[in-house]
């Protein structure tokens, strides 16, 4: 049997000052296969992909595309050889139109044929079933749609090698299904697809083979059909991990009947969520669930006044309070970990230390700065407590992996000793190990008496952590599930109405 390798990489090494990102890694991609690239954060997946796409130059090793040795010096060069990429975070231009984004940086011409561009875009959007208009500004599309546009763009570039780095992390199930059917279509046309994801189920659903990296080294290449999910996880973690799905569901405790911490009535916001009522008790973990765009994020943002509040009342510990700015919520002991880590969460260039102490510092006030020593002590305490992997407290937060950035933001809120913590997709786009860790932490906070609202696209995760789920549809609450009714099927029934 002859299978043609469209991409071959041998003995790839890549180092950064102080970090050995890749060491002697090999990778092959066949024509017409989907190849899952798996590993924890910091395993070297991103670096390997960036070597493939010419973002980084490799320090050592060989690379061949369709049997020809090549050496990419820039992403443009890689593009010319038919390597297309869709990155984890959307790297299009939010303030340009959909059509412009579709064709930006692709033309070799000085002039633009706007009419043709528009027609072509309309046709592309139509063929992929993407609900967007060519003249629409990209930022007005939902994250999911933006992601699909990025994929359509890459697919339109006649690529032989398509690299999808976490393409599904912001898509709902329906959209994932659409994406997978597109991937199968491309597969049948002979395109080799590298698929990076943290969703184990998805890897198995679509991949032919799986390559596992750990700490910058190749662990192995396997046929997806002969590698069990449990084996895969232990290879990624480097140790036999207790099966993630075996994690015990939280037992309902006496606390669930405790005093309400926060009660909202008729709350609505400028982000378009319909007036809703909401209560959370001391030490309770509840969650908002629903399809993407159902209004779950908008609801919690309304509680924290992250979007402009347009109506409703909030009682905190039985007393009526006014929350019209995030600072008011913070002063009442509420913390909010936003869905969009990069845009709303981290302060990019600042150090891990500054990012950890930020909320506490703001609560203390403008005229009461923490001393360098105090800040250092706090940062170190929480780096240790949450096991944040950071070279030092002065490292810029952007040089940490996504999971560790998320933990820094978690640390930021824990430091304020809050009563109520809102976590919007805290586990999105981070590795399995950290995911489990964050779920455990959430359970621990609740033990300590903190109330938590937890939102996740992975219903499994919510079922494991939450004792009450509020189901949303079309920006309104359509149901609430507790106890025995907390199952995936019940949620589906409520959503389907």
């Amino acid at each position: 049997m002859q299978t043609e390798n469209v991409l071959e990489m041998q003995g790839i090494c890549k180092s950064f000052p102080g970090v050995r990102a890749l060491h002697n890694v090999s990778f092959t991609l066949r024509k017409g296969e989907v190849h899952g690239l798996m590993g924890e954060n910091g395993a070297g997946k991103s670096t390997l992909i960036k070597v493939m796409t010419g973002v980084y130059e490799k320090d050592a090793g060989h690379m061949m595309v369709e049997g020809k040795p090549i050496h990419f010096r820039s992403p443009e060069e890689a593009q010319d050889f038919g390597v297309g990429t869709v990155y984890q975070e959307i790297t299009l231009c939010p303030n340009l139109t959909v059509a412009e984004n579709m064709f930006i940086g692709r033309g070799r011409y000085a002039f633009v044929n706007w009419k043709r561009m528009k027609e072509k875009t309309t046709q592309l959007l139509g063929s992929f079933g993407i609900p967007a208009r060519p003249t629409q500004q990209l930022s007005s599309c939902s994250l999911a749609v933006q992601q699909m546009i990025a994929i359509a763009r890459a697919m339109d570039m006649d690529c032989k090698i398509l690299i999808l780095d976490e393409p599904t992390s912001s898509l709902d199930e329906d959209e994932v299904r659409k994406l997978f059917s597109l991937m199968r279509e491309l597969k049948s046309r002979g395109v080799g697809i590298v698929f990076v994801t943290h969703f184990l189920d998805q890897v198995y659903e679509i991949s032919d083979r799986i390559t596992v990296l750990r700490n910058g080294e190749l662990i192995g290449e396997y046929d997806a059909s002969s590698l069990s999910q449990f084996e895969l996880v232990s290879k990624m973690m480097g140790k036999a991990l207790e099966d993630v799905s075996q994690m015990k569901r939280r037992e309902p405790s006496a606390r669930d009947g405790g005093e309400p911490v926060l009660e909202a009535t008729g709350l609505s916001s400028a982000a378009g969520v319909r007036p809703f009522d909401f209560t959370i008790r001391k030490g309770e973990i509840n969650g908002f669930t629903g399809l993407l765009g159902s209004g779950r994020s908008e609801s919690v943002r309304a509680i924290f006044a992250a979007d402009k509040v347009t109506g409703g009342e909030i009682k905190m510990n039985g007393k009526k309070v006014k929350i019209s700015e995030p600072i008011h919520a913070m002063k009442l002991g509420i913390g909010y970990l936003p869905e969009d880590r990069k845009g709303d969460g981290i302060i990019a260039d600042l150090s891990v230390r500054d990012n950890i102490v930020l909320a506490l510092q703001v609560l203390k006030g403008f005229f009461k700065p923490l001393s360098r020593k105090q800040a250092e002590a706090f940062a170190e305490e929480y780096i240790e407590y949450l096991k944040i992997k950071a070279p030092s407290t002065s490292t810029p937060i952007t040089s940490l992996s996504g999971g560790n950035q998320q933990k820094v933001i978690l640390a930021r809120w824990l430091l304020t000793h809050l009563q109520y913590l809102i976590l919007d997709e805290p586990t999105r786009g981070i590795d399995v190990g950290t995911k489990v860790e964050i779920q455990r932490l959430v359970l621990k906070f609740a033990e300590d008496g903190v109330s938590v609202t937890f939102i996740s696209s992975e219903i499994e995760e919510m079922l494991r952590t939450c004792s009450r789920l509020i189901v949303m549809k079309d920006r309104a609450i359509v149901g609430e599930l507790t106890g025995e009714n907390l199952t995936e099927t019940d949620i589906m029934h409520v959503i389907a109405g």
Partner: protein, 368 residues
């Protein structure tokens, strides 16, 4: 990427430029550092540089703060200082008698006007979201005419001992007064940074306004504050400039200094797109510009051609500081280090993901 560098290497550029300039001066004549005492006051190149750069240092400090939080520059600083100093002269001369008290009163009045101008700029930028360069262009355009009107269409003269002593030296004090005033200002500003969260807040707002707000910071208030502090800076700079000159020339006072102030911030290693900043860097940058001006004079460059020479120098400087050259230099040092077997430690701190993503800046800059 230029913003990822550590604090130490941030000061590397301005310090090395300063060192090169001083070296050039030493080659030209070894007496560069010599200081003589005439009539109990210090004279020499170094006192001259410190004296000459006073206003620029103060304005560069304010510019750094505005740049950090607003992500853009204030073009009106030189003109605003001309207005505040016009107010100072007007109040002082209308008071009739010139005493320490009337000088103080006039100075405070000029500070109030400076803060008002800052409030005006701040309102446009922070509350109405006008681009800072456009917003400050208003005062820049109108300011010198306003100062001329305050002056009564004249060029009033400060002919008295007290203001002379402020602008040059007080008998018995070996250091010129503007140098002392600048030092006091720098110390006060350092105290401000130490006793408040100004730095953390304005950096946060400059880097990611949305995240700053979600952490309880009010971005509008911080930008306002930056422009108001800038207003105080212009008042102090105007005060020093007019006492130095001894007369208020609303056309030429502190002409074009806003460009030097911006340049000082850039040389100091702070990004002109806002966010992280180094006040020390900006101060060194300001002195560097003064040394450059004086070096060109000392090298007998035709005074008419000085600006052209200065421009050439700035181009070289900016090319050296550009990310592309930095990367080359980084590779170069890596090459050297590899050959020396890791004996030399060069401070470059770029982590795996840090170096990658120019887009992160764009998304962080996106306003709500």
């Amino acid at each position: 990427m230029a913003r990822m560098k550590s604090y130490g290497s941030q000061l590397f550029l301005p310090l090395s430029v300063l060192a090169i300039l001083i070296l050039v001066n030493l080659i030209k004549g070894s007496s560069y550092f010599s200081i003589s005492i005439i009539n109990g006051a210090l004279y020499g190149n170094i006192p001259n540089i410190l004296f000459g750069a006073s206003e620029l240092v103060i304005l560069a400090i304010g510019m750094t703060l505005v740049t950090s939080s607003a992500g853009s520059q204030d073009l009106s600083v030189g003109v605003a200082a001309t207005i505040t100093s016009a107010v100072f002269v007007w109040v002082l001369l209308s008071a009739g008698k010139i005493t320490w008290i009337t000088i103080l009163a006039a100075f405070l009045a000029s500070c109030v006007v400076g803060i008002l101008i800052g409030t005006f700029n701040g309102a446009l930028v922070a509350a109405l979201n006008v681009q800072p360069i456009v917003a400050t262009l208003i005062v820049y355009t109108a300011g010198r005419s306003i100062a001329f009107l305050i002056d009564g269409k004249l060029s009033p003269i400060l002919a008295n001992n007290l203001t002379y002593e402020i602008g040059s030296e007080i008998p018995g004090v070996p250091i010129q007064t503007p140098i002392i005033l600048t030092a006091v200002f720098v110390v006060l500003f350092a105290v401000l940074l130490r006793t408040t969260n100004l730095k953390l807040y304005s950096q946060s707002v400059g880097i990611n306004q949305r995240a700053a707000r979600l952490n309880g910071i009010n971005p509008v208030r911080i930008k306002f504050l930056a422009f108001m502090i800038m207003g105080v800076c212009t008042a102090v700079a105007g005060f020093i400039a007019v006492t130095k000159a001894g007369r208020h020339d609303s056309v030429n006072l502190l002409k074009d200094i806003e460009m030097d102030a911006i340049l000082a911030v850039a040389i100091g290693g702070s990004s002109l797109y806002g966010g992280k900043f180094s006040i020390t860097g900006s101060i060194i940058g300001a002195y560097t510009i003064e040394v450059l001006n004086r070096t060109l004079l000392r090298l007998d460059v035709d005074p008419d051609a000085i600006k052209a020479f200065k421009a050439v120098f700035i181009i070289i400087l900016m090319v050296i500081a550009s990310p592309a050259v930095r990367e080359l230099a980084g590779n170069g040092t890596k090459w050297v280090r590899d050959r020396l077997g890791g004996a030399v430690q060069i401070p470059t701190a770029i982590g795996e993901d840090a170096a990658v993503d120019p887009k992160s800046d764009i998304s962080a800059k996106k306003e709500v």
